[in-house]
């Protein structure tokens, strides 16, 4: 008997980056009491083609039904399981500046299953200070806490120039994935995952698009 490849085979990045959008829609539709959704409707609401939707869903361990479409509840469940959204991911935030503090107290992360357990900084002036329900920890505590609380993800919210050094310490401490909130380019070993949040880059992309739209010839 062959194993289903769906959960084992690595899903391409292009697909993985769309799955959260399907998850949001499946959840919304299910909450609205809509039980079935077709690839056509999903494609319409997300500005994709039905082909893309069906191809994407074929990567996860879930099947639609001819003539009815996809069960919204089923889709939600399987997408959540595939993405790991059915389990809490323990995170730490490094950097207790404006951005770091904001991320730490932004309730949405916890609501979405990303539990921030500590906030760190290396500035003696802020170590020990309160940030929401957190007391800012000294960076030297990082390895202890990562080990003890099984921290999976480190969120890098420090000044640009400190980003790589902080990333190195997170990797050393045993974190498995990094979210880079800075504009710096960070390098990590292959066993560690890295995603750039690209907020400034997204704003630049917008500024460029606005400029190009201005003279549409």
């Amino acid at each position: 008997m062959e194993t289903k490849p769906n959960n084992v085979t690595k899903i391409p990045g292009s697909v993985i980056r769309r799955l959260p959008k399907y998850l949001v829609q499946a959840k919304r539709l299910r909450q609205e009491g809509i039980e079935w959704v077709s690839s056509d409707v999903l494609a319409d609401t997300l500005a994709l083609t039905p082909s893309t939707v069906r191809q994407d869903i074929s990567h996860i361990d879930f099947h639609g039904i001819s003539k009815r479409g996809y069960s919204t509840a089923g889709l939600e469940t399987v997408l959540a399981r595939t993405l790991g959204a059915d389990q809490e991911s323990v995170c730490v935030v490094i950097g207790a500046g404006n951005l770091g503090r904001a991320l730490a107290i932004h309730e949405e992360f916890a609501r979405q299953g990303f539990r921030i357990c500590e906030v760190f900084d290396n500035n003696p002036a802020v170590i020990g200070k309160k940030v929401g329900r957190f007391m800012v920890q000294d960076m030297s505590e990082l390895p202890n806490i990562v080990g003890r609380l099984k921290v999976m993800i480190g969120i890098v919210a420090v000044p640009h120039d400190a980003a790589q050094a902080v990333a190195d310490r997170l990797v050393m401490a045993g974190v498995r994935g990094l979210l880079n909130m800075t504009t710096a380019h960070i390098t990590v070993p292959e066993r560690v995952a890295l995603v750039d949040a690209r907020i400034i880059a997204s704003l630049r992309e917008l500024a460029y698009a606005v400029k190009v739209n201005e003279r549409p010839s």
Copy 2:
């Protein structure tokens, strides 16, 4: 005489999304006193191929020199001009929750040329309250302020369910581009640019990558 196509032709999105990384590197190298950089070195530091770097730079109105490479100062200048990073972009933040407040006071945006001029909310309990140097404005003031201050970009930092309605009001007010900080899917007219910040989606991508790395067979 033919016009240079570089500033006129629209640069593909895949390329535009890499240009901010080149800009960061060019600036860093220039500040370190390094005057020239080759496509090989840039590729190495950014985990790209030299071919990709040369192809990307060929989209902007700038040329390297055989045997020396690219002038870091020249590259910085032209990239900044191409992306619009040499000019201030006026932004508003909608939503004075934790995330909105944080974005409003995060100095990095201003430092990168994204000047936030006002923060809005529709909750009477927060309207008129101070957020850093801002006083939270009533949403009804949006059209006035967008018109008067020539606001280019609206940053949508409201709860998920309010995202589309807020986007509609920003578009109506005359904003030219939207940065969507929520997980909602937003639809805008073609003349308006939209970029998803995808912070939660990035964390999901990370959680998935961590899970897949765990059993690497």
